[in-house]
Amino acid sequence: MHISPTIKKTLRVSKTCFLRKLVIASIAVLGYHHGALAAPSTAEVNTTGLAVTDDTVKVGILHSVTGTMAISETGSVQAEKLAIKQINEMGGVLGRKIEYIQEDGASDWPTFAEKSRKLLVNDKVAAVFGCWTSASRKAVLPVFEQYNGMLYYPTFYEGLEQSPNVIYTGQEATQQIIAGIDWVVKEKGAKKFFLLGSDYIWPRTSNKIARKHIEKLGLKVVGEEYYPLGHTQFNSVINKIKLKKPDVIYAIVVGGSNVAFYKQLKAAGIDMTKEKPVLLTISVTEDEIRGIGGENIDGAYAAMKYFQSLDNPNNAEFVKNFKAMWGDDIVIGDVTQAAYLGPWLWKAAVEKAGSFDIDKIKEASPGIELTTAPEGYVRVHENHHLWSKTRIGLAKKDGQYQVIYETEELMEPDPFPEGYQ
């Protein structure tokens, strides 16, 4: 199904300049590569000097594999490599095998900027799959806009950004937050919320949206707290939670702090398997649960677009292939799945455009759909974010989520939500 747009495009082009096409094609076939009859010539699909040859195309993978973010970004690298391998097995993109150049951002934002410049200027890659934290994306954004590169960014994030040079394959904040809060209000009768987060842009922006939405529904926020990244002592805030008796603890704690927070919550006698308080998070994927320990987060709810346990044929296939490539004991979280979409969305855009040229991909991207996505169906919005469903997962002792709810409709991505800023 990914081939049909290419054929259509080729046919359309053939009609307009049939003779020239024929000549070029014959030369290509005779002179260079006898095997790849279908592949259009390089001069035609690459007018801006990207690293595209007659049978290969170079892309970049830019994540942290060392430093503090390696914990989170490893899964994204694995997913992108899997997608690239599968695409190559299917014959590549426009008849060209994908070769990747992997660079290490080393959890350091200036390094990300420098490596992205290297990938775009020296290596002339046709696309980059990478970045994880918003800080790293903000660091590389000017580079991608200056040198006109294409970035596929996998993480759920705070929104408030929209660049023609980026495709955001994770959810922006409103998609995750609004669906989650609506669910907990409807299903759990929640009235009082306690907002908690690590102290940086994503949790703060997300909680701002959450607070607006909660107050819009006529409900109450009884506390809002932030702790520095890497904070490991949550006893004070847990006491505060006990005192305020909220119906919902809305937690956006990240990284190593997560482990401390959930262990201490359990040790303090807050049992999430009981009716109240409900814990709802948007920051804990299956990846994080490995560090936290399933028994410490048993009974919490998460609002995300993807869980490993998602029951559909695409996902069964994806999980099987992922484990075959990276080992049986691996877990797959929301961002890993979003990272997996990157190469596929790029492939679809290239084939729709019939070209590797960045400007043509930018133009072709909106409207692209993936029916083979592990999360189900996604479509690229005009604003370069994805339409996707939001699901609620219930954390289980074995470290997996059980999907108990999904939105009926695809959630529209809205990176600049009016009235929420």
């Binding site: 102290d199 490991t232 002592q233 005192l243 190593g256 560090g291």
Partner: protein, 308 residues
Amino acid sequence: MFADYTTTELVSIFAMQGFAGLILFSVFVLMALGLAIIFGQMGVINMAHGEFMILGAYITYIISNLFSSYLPGLFDLYFFLAMIVAFFATAALGALVEWGMIRHLYRRPLDTLLATWGLSLILQQIYRSVFGAREVGVSLPDWLMGSVPLSDMIEIPINGLFVMGLTIIISVSIYLLMFRSRWGSQVRAVVQNRPMAAAVGINTEKTDRRTFALGCGIAGIAGSAFTMIGSTGPTAGQLYIVDTFLVVVFGGAQSLVGTIASAFTISQSQSTMEFFLSGSMAKVLTLLVVVGILMLRPQGLFALKMRH
């Protein structure tokens, strides 16, 4: 800021926060004791202290896995064995590091800072290669989780009690070792006057190595205990290092009593402020107060009177 609460609530708040502060205090003491011995007694700025702690945590992880596969019946007790193994393993690594690196740098304190920082990066990468970049989950025996309810509002976490008990045992042992044993008086003699100590027949090199190993070993025990409350990952040690140095420097580098006093001051003020302000603001205020006091008293809270 008190107006939002009733009197009974305020009483509960202070009781709960007092206890939260005590747990934080125990954590600080446990983190800082090893560093206080190394920094205070030997003058070595050990930037790899956090990584020694994480070695202890990984050893706990390995032993918990071994027990759950081979001795599931004794799983409830593995934690004690894990702490002992963690102590000896980190102490052994400490001795090796002292022999291979630190002893060549005793006269160049700034170089030890760089060298141990490099060591911390090397250790992090080794952990990452061996255990993977992701955090590992250490499963704990059930009796260590959960809490003792004292009243409706006040519940005391069992692992908090455990850390407090452990801190008391280790502090008392260190006190006995440093001030009541022959070895302790040798260590103190070397600290106070190295050439003189050597002249009366103390093997200063051996004393140095043992002191460094002891400091590292205590870091290992701390790391093992912290699997109950924190994360175990290649870079988790970095989360502790700033607080640890803060406690040691604030207390007065050469005084173990000072370390304990400063841990108490910092933890109680931080946990009280955390309740009425946000977590980040509490941290900022704590740091401001510490900086202010250190400007007035650069030697820290407690300083040994000694000749230079």
